[in-house]
Symmetry: C2
Subunit: 324 residues, 2 copies
Amino acid sequence: MQYYPAPEEVIEMSDLISAVESAFVDHGAGRSVMPPKVYVNLPGGDFRTMPSYIPSLQTAGVKIVNVHPENRKAGLPTVMAVTILLDPPTGKPVAVLNATTLTDLRTGASAAVATRALTHKKSGTIGIIGSGRQADSGLLALSHVVEPEEVLVWSRSPTHADEFVQRYSHLPIQSTDIESAAGADILLTVTPSKTPLIKDEWISDGAHINAVGADAPGKQELDPAILRRADVFVDDMDQATHSGEVNVPIREGIYTPSQIRGTLGGVLTGAIPKPTPGTITVFDSTGLSITDLAAAHLAIGKGTIIDLPFMQNANTPGISGVRE
Amino acid sequence: MQYYPAPEEVIEMSDLISAVESAFVDHGAGRSVMPPKVYVNLPGGDFRTMPSYIPSLQTAGVKIVNVHPENRKAGLPTVMAVTILLDPPTGKPVAVLNATTLTDLRTGASAAVATRALTHKKSGTIGIIGSGRQADSGLLALSHVVEPEEVLVWSRSPTHADEFVQRYSHLPIQSTDIESAAGADILLTVTPSKTPLIKDEWISDGAHINAVGADAPGKQELDPAILRRADVFVDDMDQATHSGEVNVPIREGIYTPSQIRGTLGGVLTGAIPKPTPGTITVFDSTGLSITDLAAAHLAIGKGTIIDLPFMQNANTPGISGVRE
């Protein structure tokens, strides 16, 4: 078994986008196994357990990831993650990865895959609502699939928005009011909001929205009127209806699962037609275990590796070690 | 984050039995959080993801464990496991443990806890059906709660049964036919059988059966007539009806969940009366995540520890590492 303390250091974003896209294709074609993630509430947050198996990569495993909104006060990220990979034919654990930054990156890559699959845009304005780590990875990934004409950033904290702008001063970027950012051609929402932040009237015709923040029951970022006027695609039907952007409107009875156009994987496999230009599209992203495995699979065998002893005496009969 | 390659080396069985009993008490009192385990099928086997949270131990985490019946041919154990522990108030991963042998040990300890809670026996004959690793840990644990007057072992492989007997030559032990072993005062069944091995007429009045082998849909070791004549206790109602000894009879309609007397935790808390002497009792053990956490919690901070770097640069804004 091997440990990877910083697997993100060996990953190229373009490779990650391709790997994540392949995972969505497998998902759309029914060639992967992925039970819905399981939530356990903790004091001040929760953790999610996300198992899956991707036959085409000959890999299986589990990501374990927490969400503790107050962690920044303790000098820790809100979200931290570990991924365990298993060898499918034997079930043996082969790798443990620090998946904290990988989680941000695969989330950004998923938004990039959706933007390329659901829109016809090669360039445009990018609006970013929120300025946490997923804002960084989202902008990085989106820049690989659309030429950013202008990047408009809004954050509840103007200081954080300004810091974000400074980090990307090589791009045409500025911090703005929420309405201006929300009016962009391509929108990325990455807040932990539990009430709609984005009003329907702010959304431009033909806009594409990557709704990333809502990933647990009770969370939502968009006015439900946006969902009713858009073509809505989800990453996974079970997860999105349980915990994605659509979860609150569905529970309140103002939106129904039958109004969802389908999955991103369905569009990628061609089972669902790509929306025509001018359509408002929403990608409801909850985060799939298979994208975590695809990201981990890209990293293993490269970079810093710490060897961990595991089952050296596998064939010893009886139970050794324990003291009677 | 720290890695423990052999946590079983620092655990005393008597301490483990106490820790597992406390976990069952918490479970019975509704003081732990444990969603049912999630199964993912793989070529030649499966893996299970088992998350939980035990407030009284201030620990949370996940065990990941495979079952690949043909692994012995490849020189690997059938079952291998890794446990990840998280710090509940922050969700930070704090420990990774090789939980392979720990899994065997906590399974044995659970049978010992059940034997003590459900019977009035201080001594008696012990019958063991099967001779794999769980037979070893089961005998070790049961010897802590009952004085073994005689140990009778049956295995499909007479060679394995003889090897097992040799390992415990300090005890009054012998390999026997299955009927003799099944007639013991305290029975431990630890086979992967999918058809009943143990006939009703072999079971002695007042016997206690620890039915451990059935831990997945389709598995069963006991003639269902035994269940109907016994007081049946489960480790967890959801898991047992899904994948325990009762799963096949329930699916076939010859046993119903309402016939189950209750959980082991319910007896330990006093919510369910202890069966009277002379009652045939069955403990249907599927394996609880909370017992894995309790075992892991006993081991951390002791023995061989490998420090793993995790989130040194937690406060760096933006996404470092990935190459654009």
